[in-house]
């Protein structure tokens, strides 16, 4: 369970989050919507511990752990995964080496032996099939020269490899064509179990047709101003945000 209390955060000296309260229980999917620049990605980055974002007040706990005291890698080992709005290209670092380092670091943190090379490669192959990602992509450098959609697909591939318990999808649907959107969303649904929870950031209803949220929040100007059921997303699609503004 993720619990955010009265969270205030700054980036480059500017206050972006101005008191966010949010509770996401195990197994729940929460959608987070809001205007451009409202602070959705900022909230995500704060949850995963991006060093550029400074928390000035409030708390975040995850399964009883004080997240704000933990490094980004420790948060990852605790089961938190973020699909980046803008996945990063890392020329010269192969997907294989990158995933091997990630998978084994997580295993080490959990007190498990590193995967044997053959087991690791089998895991790569199986996961590749599961999320239907081109194996040529997986044999290249991390995201290097990937199209926008390929990068998003790669995020889901990495999620599948790491099997997190809490996922943040930051506009994973943007840049995906209709078919890719379905594949990625179905991939995500396959990975879920009854404990997995998620915060899905999107501007569009169509992603939520596949990944059905239990609760929808609207974040405007650094605060959650409205929380309701899945019907809220449809209403926003029709009416925009103006009617919600306090």
């Amino acid at each position: 369970m993720l619990e955010i209390r009265n969270l205030h955060a700054r980036v480059e000296g500017k206050e972006i989050l101005k008191g966010v309260d949010l509770t996401i229980r195990d197994g729940e999917i929460h959608a987070l919507m809001g205007t451009n620049g409202a602070g959705k990605s900022t909230l995500s980055n704060v949850i995963v511990g991006h060093p550029k974002y400074e928390v000035t007040e409030g708390s975040i706990t995850f399964d009883g752990l004080d997240l704000l005291k933990m490094s980004p890698e420790e948060r990852s080992h605790a089961g938190i995964f973020m699909s980046f709005q803008l996945p990063v290209e890392i020329p010269g670092v192969s997907m294989t080496n990158f995933m091997r380092a990630a998978v084994n670091a997580r295993r080490e943190a959990l007190g498990e032996e590193p995967l044997k090379s053959t087991d690791f490669l089998r895991l790569m192959r199986d996961t590749q099939k599961l999320v239907d990602i081109d194996k040529r992509l997986v044999s290249r450098s991390v995201n290097e020269g990937f199209s926008g959609g390929e990068k998003k697909r790669n995020e889901i591939f990495q999620m599948a490899m790491l099997q997190p318990t809490f996922c943040i999808l930051d506009e994973t649907d943007s840049g995906l064509d209709v078919d890719a959107l379905r594949v990625v969303a179905e991939g995500f649904n396959k990975l879920r179990n009854e404990k997995t929870s998620a915060m899905v950031i999107t501007h569009y209803q169509r992603l939520l047709d596949y990944i059905r949220p239990d609760i929808v929040h609207v974040l405007l100007d650094g605060r959650i101003v409205k929380t309701a059921g899945p019907e809220l997303a449809r209403e926003i699609e029709e009416r925009g945000f103006d009617w919600i503004r306090p």
Partner: protein, 404 residues
């Protein structure tokens, strides 16, 4: 007493011994060389070519002179100590004998490792030379190597410099290379010594017509390292590639000075040097491309990319073009940057601890230089050596037989 004088005195004491063990062709240059050194002295920081390395500090210290007498045991390799015929013909013909450090080396070198590949001969297997510094006291060595490839000969050499004892070592080395018409040479040099080692290495290459020369210098461990590489393109249609990568930390000092002289038309040269300097380390790169009057249709590209990690680390970079012909295509560029923080964070989000994430990024950066090595097994081995270096594994040195 200044440091230069110590070497003059040392020469006076050892001259006879050196003369008695070394071949005539080497002895013929000796007195002249010490006069050059006496006249110029150790280059100060005011001398352009040496402005990044304090030679007074590097050559100071109380070293025992080792007068080497090596034996070569490999029977089928094209290597001998002191090939008189080769020495008479080529000794001192490639390198700038007026350089004070070269002069010092010429004065004290007692033998020359000679590698000769005859006309149309292709040495299939790469030749590997491992130099292991061993001594029970602080020691200096002055080494000399001569590599001659006759017309259309080809050879790949890996020279691996290591040190097995925890003493101060001062090494000067001069490698002269003659690449004849149509010859093909791949020369790799890897330094994995330690923080007490000072190495002044000069590689001077004369390239004939239609020849291909590739040099790749990889500096992983060392104290003070200076690599001077000069290439003179003397025949048309030749191609030379100088690559190098440096990983320096603690108080390491690594200075590379390259000069490529396009003396004739229609030659191509490429340069790529990458440095990663961390902690209190200093890196320097100065690369000059000279295009002589009339050397038309020269093509040259030079790139020096560096990453400075530690706030106390320093990097100096100085690419230079000196062009006296009008129909040429030359480019040069250099960058000094930091590790990509966005990429670091992306990796950490995936659970990769920061030190490991750094290592992967550095390896990717440096690895590009290793990727250019065409020979796959060698390339893989060098990748492993770089990886070990980044893992901080000082106890074993990946390649040499001593550690296996």
């Amino acid at each position: 007493m200044n440091t230069s004088q110590t070497y003059l005195d040392l020469y006076a004491r050892y001259r006879d011994q050196l003369m008695s063990v070394a071949p005539d062709a080497m002895n013929a240059c000796r007195d002249e060389a010490i006069r050059t050194f006496g006249h110029k002295g150790l280059p100060t920081l005011k001398v352009e070519e040496y402005k990044y390395t304090d030679t007074e500090r590097a050559f100071g210290g109380d070293y025992h002179l080792s007068v080497a007498t090596a034996k070569v045991t490999a029977s089928d390799a094209p290597v001998v100590v002191n090939n008189d015929e080769l020495l008479t013909r080529y000794y001192g013909s490639c390198v700038d004998m007026s350089d004070p450090i070269v002069a010092l080396n010429t004065a004290f070198a007692s033998e020359c490792l000679c590698i000769h590949v005859g006309r149309n001969q292709h040495v299939e297997r790469p030749l590997e030379i491992t130099d292991v510094l061993r001594a029970q006291a602080d020691t200096m060595e002055h080494k000399r190597i001569l590599i001659v490839l006759d017309e259309c000969a080809s050879l790949t050499i890996l020279m691996h410099y290591t040190a097995a004892d925890q003493q101060h070592f001062l090494t000067t080395q001069v490698v002269e290379v003659v690449a004849g018409d149509g010859a093909h040479l791949d020369l790799y040099e890897i330094e994995e010594t330690h923080s007490l080692c000072t190495r002044f290495n000069t590689v001077a290459v004369n390239v004939g017509r239609n020849a291909t020369v590739r040099h790749n210098g990889i500096t992983l461990w060392g104290g003070i390292t200076r690599n001077t590489i000069t290439v003179s393109l003397k025949g048309e249609m030749s191609e030379v590639t100088l690559n190098g990568c440096v990983m320096a930390d603690k108080h390491q000092h690594v200075d590379t000075n390259t000069v490529i002289r396009h003396e004739v038309p229609r030659c191509t040269s490429h340069e790529l040097y990458k440095y990663v300097v961390d902690e209190q380390a200093t890196g320097a790169f100065a690369g000059k491309v000279y295009v002589a009057p009339g050397a038309q249709q020269t093509q040259s590209d030079e790139v020096n990319q560096n990453i400075c990690i530690g706030s106390e680390s320093h990097m100096y970079t100085q690419p230079m073009l000196e062009i006296y012909a009008d129909d040429v295509k030359c480019s040069h560029g250099s960058t000094v940057g930091k590790l990509d923080e966005t990429a670091l964070f992306y990796m950490r989000q995936r659970g990769i601890p920061r030190p490991k994430a750094r290592q992967l990024l550095i390896q990717a950066f440096i690895g590009q230089v290793v990727d250019y090595i065409p020979l796959q097994p060698l390339r893989e081995r060098l990748h492993i050596m770089v990886e070990r270096r980044l893992g901080g594994d000082l106890d074993t040195c990946a390649g040499c037989t001593l550690c296996k």
